[in-house]
């Protein structure tokens, strides 16, 4: 449940960052489908936790070290929203200026997704297809024996 709220909040963050399409997908897919999958898994598996969670010093050290390295990395980053940042110089202006005439759709994200980067989307569909087959292979026997466990 908390995870669904987290997803929904991140969708709100995307809206404030002008990424409405991403926010839409995150709200539908992240808050919707992911949460349903999580809850379904929790319903099928045993969720009791007997041992209390202990703080793991080594994991802490690794986490803090990673955070420090990333913080050091952001020092070289351009300011958020800076129009002179390298990310805004290369292909994006062309997409924004030409896609209206070339594709004829006002939504630039849609024209990039479906046309300029259509092969990426094809690859995405391939990944989803593979994952779907994987899930079916893994869970096929479980669905027929739903509720029965081998060890009990």
């Amino acid at each position: 449940m908390l995870f669904a709220i987290f997803s929904l909040l991140s969708a709100a963050v995307f809206v404030t960052l002008d990424a409405v399409d991403v926010a839409f997908t995150e709200a539908a897919v992240g808050a919707g489908i992911s949460t349903i999958l999580m809850l379904a898994t929790l319903a099928v598996t045993r969720t009791r936790e007997e041992r209390a969670h202990r703080l793991k010093p080594l994991a802490w050290v690794a986490t803090v070290f990673t955070g420090a390295v990333l913080l050091y990395g952001t020092m070289d980053y351009p300011q958020v929203g800076d129009p002179t940042a390298p990310a805004h110089q290369h292909v994006a202006p062309r997409y924004i200026q030409q896609s209206g005439e070339e594709i004829g759709i006002p939504n630039v994200v849609t024209s990039v997704l479906a046309s300029y980067r259509g092969y990426d989307t094809l690859g995405e569909v391939t990944v989803i297809f593979t994952a779907g087959i994987g899930v079916l292979c893994l869970l096929g026997p479980v669905i027929t024996l739903f509720g029965k466990r081998e060890k009990d």
Binding site: V20, R51, T74, V80, A87, L138
Partner: protein, 115 residues
């Protein structure tokens, strides 16, 4: 406030990383991976943000739009992320079926008993 977005991303990445490393419950590990993933999404969208710009939907009266390319990449990443989450959770269900537990430590103990 110059790099505020990036700091939020770093905190989320640290949270996700710690959850993945320290939690023994496999479902919680998958959840940690998801938190990490959302952090990367926010990083990309922050890079695409343009001060004073609007969402990249062409309309009369606007000439500054956010960079659409990161949006497209993250749209793809979100959907792929759900596919991998589904696969991971399917694996967790299989592990639960085979061992009767989804706790990493208990699985390790069961493995040692069998040897």
């Amino acid at each position: 406030m110059v790099h505020f977005n990036y700091w939020v991303v770093i905190v989320l990445i640290m949270t996700g990383l710690y959850v993945v490393m320290a939690q023994t419950n496999l479902v919680k590990k998958v959840l940690g991976l998801n938190i990490f993933q959302v952090a990367v999404f926010i990083l990309y969208i922050s890079v695409g943000k343009l001060a004073g710009g609007t969402a990249p939907i062409l309309a009369a009266g606007f000439d500054r739009y956010a960079n659409p390319l990161p949006h497209v990449l993250i749209l793809t990443a979100i959907v792929v992320g759900v596919a991998t989450t589904a696969l991971a959770l399917a694996l967790v269900i299989r592990i639960d079926k085979a061992y009767g537990t989804i706790d990493e430590m208990e699985i390790e103990e069961l493995d040692k008993e069998q040897e």
